[in-house]
Symmetry: D2
Subunit: 334 residues, 4 copies
C-alpha cells in the first residue's frame, strides 16, 4: 500500500510526502487513518515549534486525535483484527516502570506520544502503533466521533482529577473544544449545575445549545462553585476561577498557561481549596466510547470544518483564520 504523510518540514510549512509503508511489530497494528482532529498543541508546534520543554528540531508529523481501520496486525496481537474500526489512544507506555505499575502509565517517563517531539503523529495514511492503544468503535459511532474521543478524554480526566462528584456545581472556564467536552463530561459525571465562560459569543452560544449555563469571562456573576475546570489557559483565568470556589472547592488546571501563574494563595487558603494539575488522561477511552455511543455526550456539534490531507496546513491554522470555528478534522484518505 502506498503511504503519504503531511510532514511539517519547517515552521508553518507542511509538505505532503510519500513515506514507507509501515510494518507492524509483534504487538502492533497498522492503522489506515480515517480522521485526525486538530488540537491547539498541533497548532502551537506548527506556529512556534515548541510547547514548554518539547521542541521541534526536525521534520515532524502532527496529529494525535485519531481513528481509523486496522489494516495489518502483528503476530502477537489478539485484541483487534484486520478491518476493525478503532479509536487510538496516542500514548504508549513502557509497562515496566514504577509509574506504569502504580496505575499511572500516563506519567511514564518513557511514554511515546503521537505528535510530541521527537515522535511523529498521525497526519498520514498508514501508521503502526501498539495494538493495546486501540479501542473498537461501536457500529453507531463515526470515525470523526472516534477522533474526538481524545479531547473528550482530556475532559473526563480533568473531572477525575478534580474529584468531581455527582451534585457538584461546576465552573468551566474556556469554551473551546476541551472546555465544552469537559463540561459535557462533568454533566455525565452527575454535576449539579454547569456554567461555561468565554469571551466569544459564538462559543457561548454553542455552550448554550449544548445545555450549559453561560457567562462572559469578563462579566462573572457572584455564584460560587464546588469545582473549577480551567480550560482556557488564559492569564489570570485560574486565579479568578479559584476565587469563586466554595469551601473545600477543587480546581483542575486543564488549559496550559504560557508562563508562571501568580496565585493569591493566602486568600484562597481560607476556603482550603485544592488545585490538581492535569497531564492528559489515564484509561479514559472505554468510558468516552460509552458516553458517546449511548448518546449521553454528543461530540458532533464541535466539528465545524473538514479538510483532506493535502490541506492539513489550512486545518492547522483554522482557529486563527476563522473566528467561528471550533474543531477541524483532517481526513487522510481524502
Amino acid at each position: 500500500m502506498p503511504n503519504r504523510a503531511a510532514v511539517m518540514t519547517e515552521l508553518e510549512h507542511i509538505e505532503i510526502q510519500e513515506i514507507p509503508e509501515p510494518e507492524p511489530g509483534p504487538m502492533q497494528a497498522v492503522i489506515r487513518i480515517e480522521a485526525v482532529g486538530v488540537c491547539g498543541s498541533d497548532t502551537a508546534y506548527y506556529k512556534v515549534g515548541r510547547i514548554g520543554d518539547y521542541v521541534v528540531d526536525g521534520p515532524i508529523v502532527l496529529g494525535h486525535e485519531v481513528s481509523g481501520q486496522v489494516a495489518k496486525v502483528g503476530s502477537d496481537v489478539t485484541n483487534v483484527a484486520v478491518g476493525d474500526r478503532v479509536a487510538i489512544e496516542p500514548g504508549t507506555p513502557c509497562r515496566n516502570c514504577k509509574e506504569c505499575m502504580a496505575g499511572r502509565y500516563h506519567l511514564c517517563p518513557d511514554l511515546v506520544f503521537l505528535a510530541t517531539p521527537p515522535y511523529d503523529g498521525a497526519l498520514m495514511q498508514l501508521m503502526a502503533i501498539d495494538a493495546r492503544n486501540l479501542y473498537l468503535l461501536p457500529e453507531n459511532m463515526s470515525y470523526e466521533q472516534g477522533a474526538l474521543l481524545e479531547p473528550l478524554s482530556v475532559g473526563i480526566w480533568g473531572c477525575k482529577r478534580a474529584n468531581l462528584a455527582a451534585g457538584d456545581d461546576v465552573l468551566v472556564t474556556g469554551a473551546g473544544p476541551v472546555g465544552l467536552l469537559a463540561a459535557a463530561a462533568a454533566r455525565a459525571f452527575g454535576a449539579g449545575s454547569i456554567t461555561v465562560t468565554d469571551l466569544s459569543e459564538f462559543r457561548l452560544g454553542l455552550a448554550q445549545r449544548m445545555g450549559f449555563a453561560t457567562e462572559r469571562s469578563d462579566a462573572p456573576s457572584d455564584k460560587t462553585f464546588d469545582v473549577l475546570l480551567e480550560c482556557s489557559g488564559a492569564a489570570g483565568a485560574l486565579a479568578a476561577g479559584m476565587a469563586r470556589l466554595a469551601p473545600a472547592g477543587r480546581a483542575a488546571m486543564i488549559g496550559m498557561p504560557k508562563k508562571e501563574v501568580p496565585l493569591p494563595l493566602a486568600a484562597l487558603n481560607v476556603n482550603e481549596v485544592t488545585l490538581s494539575l492535569v497531564n492528559r488522561y489515564n484509561h479514559t477511552w472505554p468510558l468516552a466510547i460509552e458516553l458517546v455511543s449511548s448518546g449521553r455526550i454528543d461530540v458532533n456539534d464541535l466539528v465545524t470544518h473538514h479538510f483532506p490531507l493535502a490541506e492539513s496546513a489550512d486545518a492547522l491554522t483554522l482557529s486563527s483564520r476563522v473566528n467561528d470555528s471550533v474543531k477541524a478534522v483532517v481526513h487522510p484518505q481524502q
Copy 2:
C-alpha cells in the same frame, strides 16, 4: 386548622384520627403534607410491627417519603417561608455529637427519623419538623416527585457508598422502587453500563423502559461488573452478586436482608472486593432535586397507584395485593 392522621393503632389496623394542630418550635416549620410515598419499611411495620431492633410498641403514624407546603414557620426559621413547596428529609440529627461533626449526621445516635419507632411519620395533614430538613421544590417538580426524592436518595447514597465512578459497569439486583432509582442514580453518576435483575417480568419490563439492560435473577449471564448495588434484600442475592464482581469490585448492600447472610469470603477474597453497608443517606436532597428537575432522572414512571388519606391501609398493603404495582402515594389532603 384541623388536622387528621392515619394512626396505626395495632398491627394491620389504621384509624383516621383528629389530632392537635402542631405548633412549630423556633427552628421548625409546620408542613401541610401533600404526598407520602409508601416504603417497604412502612409495610413491614404495618404487618409485623418491627424491623430489626426497631419495634412498634404503641400507636404510630407511618410514612417518611414526604413533600408538602409550608403552613407556619418558627421564630428562627430563615430558609423557608409560608407557602413554599418543599420536600422533606425525614431524619433530624442532634448537630452536636461526634458523628454529626464528622459529616456523618445520618449515623447520629440521637437521630429522630419519621415513622421509625418511637417517632411518628407523615401520614397526616399537618406536621411540624426542623426547617433545616426542608428543601424547596423547583416549580417544574410535583409534590409526588418531591416525595420520591427519599427513595432516590437511598439510591444516590448507595452509589456513593459503592464509590461508583463514571465508567463503572453496574449490576443492580432487585427492580423495586429503590433498585430502579439506584439504577437511575448510577446512570446519572456516569455508569458505563447498567444491568438490572429481578424475577418479576413486570418490573423487568419497567427497567427496560427506563433504559436499563435486564436479566432474570434466576438466569444470570456471565457478565462481570465493577459495582453491585444489592437492592432486593433477598437471601443469597448479595453473595451471588458479589461473585459476579471483577477484581477490585465494590458492593453496596442497600436491600435489608432478614437474617444472617452467609458470604463465601474466601472465594471473593481472590478479587479483593469491598462490601459497604448502607444506612439511608447523607445530604442527598440537593442532588436528587437537581437530577429530577433537570430531567436526568424521571421518577414519575414508578408511581403506579394513588390513595387518599382515608385509604392509607390500602396503600400500605398494595404490594402484597397487586402484583404489577411499584410505588403507592398517599395524598393526605384528599
Copy 3:
C-alpha cells in the same frame, strides 16, 4: 476570682489589665489558663496589626495555643468537670451551617477563633469557652505539652491535606515550630523518609536531633519526594518545593505566603502534582494527645523560652530578638 489579661491596646504595646471574671454559658466552661504558646500569627498581629483580611481595630488579647484547668462549668456541660486538666481547641463552630454538617467545621463561616480579630485570645487568667472545645490531658502530659497540641494539630492536618500515606518520602520546608511538628506528624503517619530544610543552622540542628534528614534551603540535593509540606511561607519556597515532587506528588501549603505566589504550573503539570491549601485543622486533638502521650512525638524540645503574663510583650517579640529561639510559652498564672 480576680482575672488579669495581657491586652494589646495598640500596635507593639501590651497592658496588663484587670478584667471581669467570666461566667460560663450553659455549654461553656471557665478555664484557669496555665500555658499559652506564642505563634507567628500572634507576633504578626502585635507588630503590624493584620494578617490578610483580618485586621486588629481595637484592643485585643492574643494567644490561641492554650491549656489550663477547668474552674467552672455551665449547666449543660457533661464532658468536663471542675479540676480537669484540659487542652483547648481554639475554634468554636456554629454546628448549624452546611460546612459544619459536612464535617468541615473548621471552614464554618461563623467560626469564632481565639485571637483572630475581632475575637480575644487566651493571654489571660480565666477564660470562658465552649466545653466541646476541651480535651482532657492525660496525667503524663504537662500544660506546656497541652498548649503545643495546637501547632502539632496544624502539622497533623497538613499531613492529612497532603494525603500523606505510609511510605511517602516527605520534604518539609521550614524548620520553625510548625515545620518541625509537621515533620514529626509525618513520621507518625508512617512516612518513608523525611527531609527538613531551613537556612538556620540552629534549627537544622534541632531537626537533626529530632531524627530528620536535613538540607540547607539554599543548597538542595536532587532527591525527589512524594509529598511537600511547605511550612516556611518564604517567597519561592512553594514553587521550589513543588518542583522536587515525583510524578503524582502532593503539596500542602501550611506556611502562609505574604503575597501572590508565582507558580510554574506548566512545568509542574508534567508530573501532575496536586496542591492543597491548609486552613488550620479539623478534629486533630485526640490524635495529637495520643501521639504526645504515647511518646511517639516529643514536643518538649521545641519550647526554648518561658514568660510570666506580665512579660507577654517579650514573649511576642522573642523570635525577632533571639536567633536561637523556637517556641515561647507564657504562663498566665505566674
Copy 4:
C-alpha cells in the same frame, strides 16, 4: 553450583533432592536463598494439599517468605548486581493486563506466585526469579528480617485496605505472625490505640511485649474501634469483630476463613461499616524495608525457631507440635 531443594513429593512428606542449577532469563536473577519463613499456607499445602481452589497435584517446593543473595543476573537486569543482598516479592505479574495497568498487579489473573500451585516456592538453594521482584536489603537488616518482610507486607496492605488513618482505634483479632505484624503496621500508620486479641496466653504475652493492649478473644471488653484487622481466620471472628466497630468503621479480612462466613449484616448496617477483603499486597516492600530498617518495626521477636533445609518438614509442622512457637525460618544454605 550444586542446587538442592526440599520437595514435597506427597502429602506430609518432604524429600531433599538435587535439582538443576537455574539459569536466569534476560530479566531474571538467580538468588542464593538464605532465609525462608514458614507461612500457615505452606503448612496447609503440606498437610491437606489445598487452599480453596489452589490444589497441589504433583511434587511442589513450598516457601514464599524469602531473602537471599544475588548469584547471577540476566542480560537485561539493571536494578541488582551479583553479591547484592535482597528480599524477594514472591508474585510476578504479567505487566500487560487491565489489572496490571490499573495499578492492581497483585490481582493480575496471570500472576506467578511462589509456592502456589502449580508454581514452586523457595525452599531450595538457588532460585531464578524476575529481578524486578527484588529489593535491596540495607546493611543493618538481616536475611531473616528480609524474609519477614513478606508477612509484614500482608499487615501493611491490610491497613491500606482498611483505609487505616492516623488516630484510628484498631482491633487486631489473632496474635499469630500476621496479626502481630498487622498490629505493628497499624502503629506505624499512626493508629491511636491498638488492641490485639487471641486465646493463647503465650501470644498475648508477646503482643504485650510489643507494646499492644491485649484481650482474650473469649472475654472481649466493650471498647469500640474504628478499624478491625481480622487476622485469625477463626469462625465467627469477623462477625464478632465487626460488631465492635463504631459508626463508619472499617474491617479488613486478612485471615482466611475456611468456609462461608455468616455475617449479621442487618445489624451492622446501622453503623454503615465497610468490609474489605485482602489478597496479599501491592508494592509494600519499600515501606516494609523502611519501617524495619529505621527500627520503627521490630520483626525479630517473632522468629522463635530455626531449621536447616534438611529439616524443612519439621519447620512446616512446628506450629502444631510446639505451642509456644510463632515463626519458623528455614536456612537453605545450612
